[in-house]
Symmetry: C2
C-alpha cells in the first residue's frame, strides 16, 4: 500500500507529520511506500532527527508552495499547483498512491479532492466523517465540515456513507443512523432536514429518525447526519467544551493542597476521561464520497493523532470502503425510487 | 411587579413550578403578584405541602388543558386555548402581568407569544437567548432554538437584542458580538451567515466578526449569534457533553478505592465545575423580541432553575429590556441604511 502525506499541513508541520511518518512505517507493515510532500530542506532536517534519511519506504517529493489557513480554498487550488497538498492529491489521481492524509486547510483539501479526483459514482457531495465519544463507544458525525448549504440528497449520501463506514471500519452491523435536529418528532427541523428525513426513511439503512443534541453522547445513535456548517460547529464546540472543562477542573483541583492530594490519588480517572474526550485519539476524519481515500487530520494534530490518521487511511484502503460506497449508493437509489416515485429525481 | 407562571410546564410540573413560586415570593420582594396557571387540584395539593394555600401574593388561575411535548406548536395554540401556557400568555396580553415564565413546550411558547403578543416594533423575529459558561464569565447564545430557517435580518435582530441583554442584564458595556460560523474569515460560512455578516458589520454594536465553535468557551465573545436550528443543537449537545463527561468521570473515580479517596478529597473542585456547567444555574432563557417579557425555562428545570428563571423575568422587567430593544433596533436600522443604501430594505 502507498500513502501520500502532506508534510506541510497543520500547525506543527513539518515536524509532526514527519515524526508520524517514521513511526507509522515501524507500526504498519502494510504501508510499503509513504510519500512525503513539502519543503525538501525542512523535511530532510526532520528526517535526520529520526535517523530516517535513508529509509527506502519513504519517498520525498519536494514542493515549492504551502497553502496557508488564510488562503481561499478554490483560489489556493488554482494558484498553488505546486503546494504540498495539491501535489499529494495529484499522486492519488495518477494512481501512484492509494490514499492521502493531510492536516492542512480543510476547504482546500475538499476542493482539491473534489476537483481533481471527482466524487464516486452516485455521490453528489462528499462529507467529512468525524468520530466522537459516547460512554462505551463512538459515533460518527457526518458531515463534520466538508461542505455547507447542503441539499436533502446530500444528507441522504451522508447517511448511506456513514452507515458503510460504521459497518466496515467500526465493525458493527446495522448501525443506527440519526438525523441531527432540533426535535425528535418527524415534523420537527428546518426545510432541509424535513426533506432529508423522507429520503433517509426510504433508504436501505437503519434510520432511527431525528436525534437531538441531548442524545449525542448517550450511545443511542451510531451515525449522526447533518449539514457541514452545523457539523463543524458541533464538532468544534464540543471539542472546545471538553478541553475547557478539563482546564477549569485543573484550576479548581490545584486551588488547595487537599484537593491537589485528591487529584493525585485519582489521576488515573482524569487520564482516562481526558483520553476519551481527546480528538487526537480518533485519528483523522475520512472525507467520504470522493474517488480516492482521503483523511483529514485535525489542524493541531499531535504525532499520535497523525499516526492514527495514517492507520485510518490504511484501513479504509484495505476494507475497500469506496467500492462499498459505490455499490450501496446504487442500491439505495433503486430502493428510494421504488419506495416513492416522487423521490426519483432526488435519488437519481 | 406581577409575573405569570405556567405551573404545568416542564417535566416536574406542577411540583417544581409551585415550589419555585413559593420560594421566589420569599426571595424577591419586588414580585407583588405571582399568577399560577394550571390544574386547580394538583396545584392546591402542592401549595399545601409548602403551607402556602393562603399566601395573598399567589393568585391561582384554574385551567383545563395542558400542552404536551408531542403536540404541534401552532396546532396546540389553536386547540388548547384553556391550556396553562396560553392562559398565562393571555394575562400578559391583557396587561395584567408584566412577565411570563414557562418550562413547557418551546415551540408552543414561541408561537403563543408571537401570535398573541406580537413582536416589538422593528423586530422581525424573536430569538431565545441562553447563557453558557466560559472560564470566568458567561456568553449569550441567541437564537438558542426559538425559530429555524432564519433570514439575514433575523440574525441582525439577534445581534442587537443580545447586545442590549448583555449590556443591561449582565452589566458589561460594549459586549463583543460574534457570528457563529465554520471559519473566522469574512468569506467563510453559508449563504445565510455571509449576508448576515454584512448587516452585523454595519450595525451600531461591537461586532467582532465570525466566531468558531473552538472559541465559544474561551471567553473571547459575549454574544454568539446564530440561527435557532444551529443554536438549539449547540446548546443541547454541549449540555449533554458536560453531563456525560461528569458521568464518565464518576464511573472512573469509583473504579477503585484509591481513586474514590482522591475524589472525596477533591470533591469541592467537582462541585464547583458541575455548578458552572449546569444549565440550572443560569435560570431561564429570555425570548427576546416579543412584546412582553417571556422567560423559557429548561424542560427538566429543578426548583432552583425555576427560581432563577423568575429572577431573570423580574430583572428584565425592572431594567426595561424591551423598551431598550425598541430604541436600539430603530437606531440600528437608521445606521445600516446610512452605511449602505443596498441594505435599506433588509434593515427597514
Amino acid at each position: 500500500m502507498r500513502i501520500a502525506l502532506d508534510a506541510m499541513g497543520g500547525d506543527f508541520a513539518p515536524a509532526n507529520p514527519v515524526a508520524a511518518a517514521v513511526a507509522s512505517l515501524q507500526k504498519f507493515s502494510q504501508i510499503q511506500e509513504l510519500h512525503l510532500f513539502g519543503d525538501e530542506i525542512l523535511i530532510r532536517a526532520e528526517l535526520a532527527k529520526h535517523n530516517a534519511t535513508t529509509n527506502s519506504r519513504l519517498v520525498l517529493h519536494p514542493t515549492s508552495q504551502v497553502i496557508q489557513m488564510s488562503d481561499g480554498a478554490v483560489e489556493a487550488i488554482r494558484r498553488k499547483k505546486d503546494s504540498s497538498l495539491c501535489r499529494a492529491v495529484d499522486l492519488v489521481k495518477e494512481g501512484k498512491a492509494d490514499a492521502l492524509v493531510s492536516a492542512g486547510h480543510t476547504g482546500a483539501l475538499v476542493a482539491a479532492t473534489t476537483i481533481k479526483l471527482r466524487n464516486l459514482p452516485g455521490v453528489d457531495r462528499a462529507g467529512i466523517g468525524a468520530l466522537m465519544p459516547t460512554g462505551k463507544n463512538v459515533f460518527l458525525l457526518i458531515d463534520a465540515g466538508g461542505n455547507v448549504d447542503s441539499k436533502p440528497d446530500h444528507l441522504l449520501n451522508y447517511g448511506i456513507m456513514g452507515s458503510i463506514f460504521y459497518t466496515h471500519i467500526l465493525k458493527r452491523d446495522n448501525p443506527r443512523v440519526g438525523l441531527l435536529c432540533n426535535g425528535t418528532e418527524e415534523g420537527k427541523g428546518n426545510d432541509l432536514t424535513r426533506e432529508a428525513f423522507k429520503l433517509l426513511k426510504s433508504a436501505p439503512i437503519n434510520f432511527i429518525g431525528n436525534v437531538e443534541g441531548h442524545s449525542l453522547f448517550e450511545g443511542e445513535v451510531d451515525v449522526v447526519v447533518c449539514d457541514g456548517f452545523v457539523g463543524n460547529i458541533v464538532l468544534k464546540s464540543c471539542e472546545n467544551l471538553a478541553k475547557s472543562t478539563f482546564r477549569w477542573l485543573k484550576d479548581e483541583l490545584t486551588a488547595n493542597p487537599v484537593r491537589l492530594a485528591g487529584a493525585w490519588l485519582a489521576q488515573g480517572a482524569f487520564q482516562s476521561i481526558r483520553k476519551k474526550t481527546n480528538a487526537d485519539e480518533y485519528g483523522g476524519a475520512l472525507l467520504l464520497g470522493v474517488n480516492g481515500v482521503c483523511v483529514k487530520a485535525h489542524g493541531s494534530s499531535s504525532v499520535h493523532a497523525l499516526i492514527n490518521s495514517l492507520r485510518v487511511a490504511a484501513e479504509a484502503v484495505e476494507l475497500q470502503v469506496n467500492s462499498r460506497i459505490v455499490s450501496d449508493v446504487a442500491k439505495a437509489s433503486a430502493s428510494i425510487r421504488n419506495a416513492s416515485p416522487d423521490n426519483a429525481t432526488l435519488a437519481a
